[in-house]
Every structure is written in structure tokens, then in C-alpha cells.
């Protein structure tokens, strides 16, 4: 069993913050995490962090103090935060350090991400003819999934309504206005079957975590939440991924399936034991598919689970209790660590207005992104 735990968490609110740089937000989150852990920056023995578009994380040490520690910059697309977490977890597990800081932050301009075919090994024709859009991929993946597994548009809308409801009670969330299922369904159709309010937007924000092992973990000021495992996988041949002019008929499971299975196996904890989960919800359909890909339910079971309220705050398996990407936006480097931040708050019982009731012992996080990467973590009290 892992001897590594989270002893401090810090967040800079998500949203839009004109005049505040990504690195400024990272420093705020780091100071908050250190204060929460009751640890001084000079005590940190190892750090890892990154952003996708807002600079090198180790530049933040100039703000926090130049203490000479090993700092690994991570830039790994949508898995940036999770890769930093995996790196710190591995360093602590190997007893290379006893106390580590992990930080993820980002600052994206308004509007959708604007990828270019040349950067993805594709001909210019792919973009010129109007197929170089991530939103199209998400729509086509859930469209197929809905026809195979009987998921309805109402369920897509319920996922988004839940996100905005949870976001409304999260002071760090970007979108804090509840929206009804009907408002979501009747918002502008962007890529059938997904409407405007079913998609998240690129945003800004930062999250930091202090991890510890051994005696430093046992001496922690707050009751630690153990980081039982972190697993990271990329796509295999046959997985349906974004920006694919063709896909093989012989299909392979999504990288989430393998990352989740590995995370559960390393943790010695099964998906049935999970009390609360934070799943990648780039759009409503993603949360639905990731529930099953992670092993938290069977394919097709989501329709009943979501319609019956099982994934609501008060349900059997609350999902995206902080509002997820839909209510927080997606600053790529910070997104994965936000999930861990929320699990720690919930397992500590400190989530205030949005605290899931009842004893919650095991938490699960899952990030997924282009071009087919997924990272999962299991945490427990």
C-alpha cells in the first residue's frame, strides 16, 4: 500500500483573471497549499509542475524563493497536471524525497483551442475542409455511444445541469449560475447532439498540492488523504481519438479503460469501493462515457444512474462535485489537479455547501485528452 499522501491543497479561483499571469496564479495556489499543510517552502524537497500555455512552472520558484530544490517542468497536454502528480508520487514512493509540491496552472485566451493540421501530422486539406475540430470528435463519439447504449439527450442535459448546480456552490468555480435541463437542451446546437451549455471552455486557474511520505505524512497538521495510486496511459491502435481521418474497424478500448484498471490494481481498491469521483467532462457526453470506461458502472447503465440522481451530490456516487470542467472551465495544466483538490476536500469533509453527505472514504480522479491520453488516481482516507 502506498505510503504517500496529500497533506496540503491550494487553489487559485478558476475563470478569467485579466492582468494576472499564469505564474502569479501558480504562486498563489502554492502558498495556499503550503499554508494548508503547515509546511514552509524551504521544507519542500522536490517539486513538479507545468502548464500547457502559460510558461515554465519552475519560474515560480523565483517568486516562492530560490531554495535549490530539484524541480521538474512538465508539459504533457491534457495530462500535464496528472503527469506532475505521477512524477512526485514516484519520487516519494522511491523515498527520494519526503515532502513534495505539485503545481499546475494555465491561462488560455477566450474561444476554442485552435489546433493546426501540420502540428498533428495531417495535411492542410483536413483543416481546410472543416474537420479539424475537437468538438466534432466529442459529438461523434457520444453520438455513436448513444445509439449503441441507449443514452438520451435528457441525460446529456442532466450532466450539465448537475455541473452548474455544483459550480454554483463552489466559490472557486467560474460558472456559478444554475441552468435547468431545458435551458441546456434549448441552447444553441453546436455539434449535434451537443448544445452550447454541454461544452466546457478554455479558462484560467491554478492548483497546488503538498505531498508527503513516511514520518512527514504521519506528522501532518491535517488528517492526510492517501494517494493510493496514479496511472497514466496513451492510446492503442483502434482507439477512437480526435483528429483521425480514419479509424480501424477493429476497435481497442480507450486509454481511460487501461489507466483506470491499472490505478485500481495498484491501489488494491476496486471501482465498487469508490464513494466519489471527478471525471473528465470536456462535454456532457464525456462524463457519461468515462463513468463506464473507468469501471464505475456498466456501459448503458449511465442512463438509469444519472436519471435517478445517483451521481448528484446526495447520490450513491457523486461525480464532479465541484462542477467539473463544465463549471470551472479547462485551464489544461490545472484541470487534473483540481480534481484531486476536490477529492481531498470531500474526503476531509471540508467541502462546506457542496459536501457530499455520509462517510466518503475512497475517491477517484480521471483526466482524458488529445491525442488519446488518460491519467487516473485513487485516493482514500
Amino acid at each position: 500500500m502506498s505510503d504517500v499522501g496529500v497533506i496540503g491543497i491550494g487553489i487559485h479561483p478558476f475563470g478569467r483573471h485579466p492582468g494576472v499571469s499564469g505564474l502569479d496564479m501558480a504562486a498563489v495556489a502554492a502558498r495556499r497549499a503550503l499554508a494548508d499543510a503547515g509546511v514552509r517552502w524551504e521544507e519542500i524537497e522536490f517539486a513538479a509542475g507545468g502548464s500547457d500555455a502559460a510558461g515554465n512552472a519552475d519560474t515560480s520558484v523565483a517568486v516562492l524563493g530560490l531554495t535549490g530544490i530539484p524541480f521538474i517542468n512538465v508539459k504533457n497536454g491534457c495530462a500535464t497536471g496528472a503527469s506532475a502528480l505521477a512524477t512526485a508520487h514516484a519520487m516519494l514512493s522511491a523515498q527520494t524525497a519526503d515532502v513534495a509540491l505539485v503545481v499546475g496552472f494555465d491561462k488560455h485566451p477566450p474561444g476554442a483551442f485552435n489546433p493546426l493540421p501540420e502540428d498533428w501530422g495531417l495535411g492542410a486539406w483536413y483543416g481546410e475542409t472543416g474537420m479539424m475540430l475537437t468538438t466534432q470528435f466529442f459529438a461523434m463519439k457520444i453520438q455513436r455511444y448513444m445509439s449503441e447504449h441507449g443514452i438520451t439527450a435528457s441525460t446529456l442535459a442532466k450532466v450539465a445541469a448537475k455541473a452548474f448546480r455544483n459550480g454554483a456552490s463552489n466559490p472557486n468555480a467560474w460558472r456559478r449560475k444554475p441552468l435547468s435541463e431545458q435551458e441546456i437542451l434549448s441552447s444553441r446546437m453546436l455539434n449535434h447532439p451537443l448544445t452550447q451549455y454541454m461544452f466546457c471552455s478554455p479558462g484560467e486557474g491554478a492548483v497546488a498540492l503538498v505531498l508527503a511520505r513516511g514520518q512527514r505524512l504521519r506528522d501532518a497538521a491535517s488528517r492526510p488523504v492517501y494517494l493510493r495510486s496514479v496511472a497514466f496511459r496513451t492510446r492503442r491502435f483502434g482507439s477512437f481519438e480526435v483528429f483521425s481521418p480514419s479509424i480501424p474497424i477493429e476497435s481497442a478500448p480507450s486509454p481511460t479503460v487501461e489507466a483506470a484498471a491499472a490505478a485500481f490494481e495498484q491501489a488494491g481498491i476496486g471501482p465498487d469501493d469508490v464513494d466519489i469521483a471527478q471525471l473528465q467532462d470536456t462535454e456532457s457526453g464525456a462524463e457519461i462515457m468515462h463513468l463506464a470506461e473507468s469501471g464505475l458502472c456498466q456501459h448503458g447503465e449511465q442512463e438509469l444512474l444519472i436519471q435517478s440522481g445517483a451521481t448528484e451530490l446526495s447520490g450513491r456516487l457523486p461525480v464532479n462535485t465541484d462542477g467539473g470542467c463544465l463549471a470551472n472551465g479547462e485551464p489544461i495544466g490545472a484541470s487534473g489537479l483540481r480534481q484531486v483538490h476536490e477529492i481531498v476536500l470531500q474526503l476531509r469533509g471540508e467541502a462546506a455547501e457542496r459536501q457530499a453527505p455520509g462517510p466518503r472514504r475512497v475517491g477517484f480522479t480521471q483526466v482524458y485528452g488529445a491525442p488519446g491520453v488518460s491519467a487516473c488516481a485513487v485516493l482514500s482516507r
Binding site: G111, A112, N114, P115, L116, P117, G123, A124, W125, Y126, G127, E128, T129, G130, M131, M132, L133, Q136, A139, M140, K141, Q143, R144, S147, R188, M189, L190, N191, H192, P193, F237, G238, S244, P245, S246, I247, P248, I249
Partner: protein, 145 residues
């Protein structure tokens, strides 16, 4: 629309063979994996022994969406959101070969469903040059959605 009077948007995507329009893919000589567009190495077994393959003209719609907002330009060829008309995009499964992503000739969700029969065709490519074409799939005539 025939290729004879038109210019393909890119080389190596589609050709006229035996009087018929065909997509040009590749097939791995070792494991048989088919890709579109053709690749110089196999994404399944990493072999570099691959051959050109003319893909089937007909297949079934595996999934689809409607692009209802103007894509950013670049990479989209047209930078005129005011004049934008929605278009369909989907993956068409060519039996025993591969699923190909393509523009669809239909942009009405009521006329599309997974599993319907589709056939290869050409459409004008987005942009200012009227004689440039790209590949697309259209519902097979008589196929009710």
C-alpha cells in the same frame, strides 16, 4: 460531379479508377491493416511494407454530427462566419476495410442515422476557387433515414 473537370484539394486522397471515383488508402502487407489516407508505415504492426489500396465506394454511417458553427480560419479555408452554412461530418464504415471520416452531403439531423447506407461522391471544397473538390459521402438514393 466528375474529377475530369475539377482539381482535388490534395494529391493522394482520391482518384478515378475504371471510370469510378475511389478513395486511395494503404494496406499493410504484413498484418492487413488499412488506413486512409495512405501511410508509409503501419500504425498497427509498425511494418514499412505497405501498398496502395483503392477503398470501397459504399459503406454504412458509423457516426455523425452537424458542424453548426463556423470553424476558425485557419485552418478552415473560409474566414467568413456570416456566410457560413452548417455541414454534416461522419465516419463511414467501409466493410472489411476501415472507417473513413468525411464531409457528408446532408446537414439535416432528421436525415441521418447510424447504420444508413452511404456512397462516395465529390463536393466543392470550401474556399474561393470554384473548381477545387474534396471527397464526401451521400446517403444512397432510396435509403430512408
Amino acid at each position: 460531379m466528375s474529377l475530369a473537370a475539377a482539381r482535388p484539394i490534395a494529391d493522394g486522397l482520391f482518384v478515378e479508377a475504371g471510370g469510378e471515383l475511389r478513395l486511395l488508402g494503404s494496406e499493410c502487407d504484413r498484418c492487413g491493416a488499412v488506413t486512409f489516407p495512405g501511410q508509409a508505415s503501419c500504425p498497427r504492426c509498425t511494418s514499412t511494407d505497405v501498398s496502395d489500396r483503392l477503398l470501397a465506394r459504399r459503406g454504412t454511417l458509423w457516426t455523425w454530427t452537424i458542424q453548426a458553427f463556423a470553424p476558425k480560419s485557419p485552418p478552415y479555408a473560409v474566414d467568413d462566419p456570416e456566410a457560413f452554412e452548417p455541414y454534416g461530418v461522419g465516419y463511414v464504415e467501409l466493410p472489411g476495410e476501415v472507417r473513413v471520416e468525411a464531409r457528408l452531403t446532408v446537414a439535416d439531423p432528421d436525415q441521418l442515422r447510424t447504420g444508413m447506407a452511404m456512397e462516395l461522391t465529390l463536393i466543392p471544397a470550401p474556399g474561393v476557387e470554384p473548381d477545387v473538390v474534396t471527397y464526401a459521402f451521400r446517403p444512397v438514393d432510396g435509403e430512408a433515414p
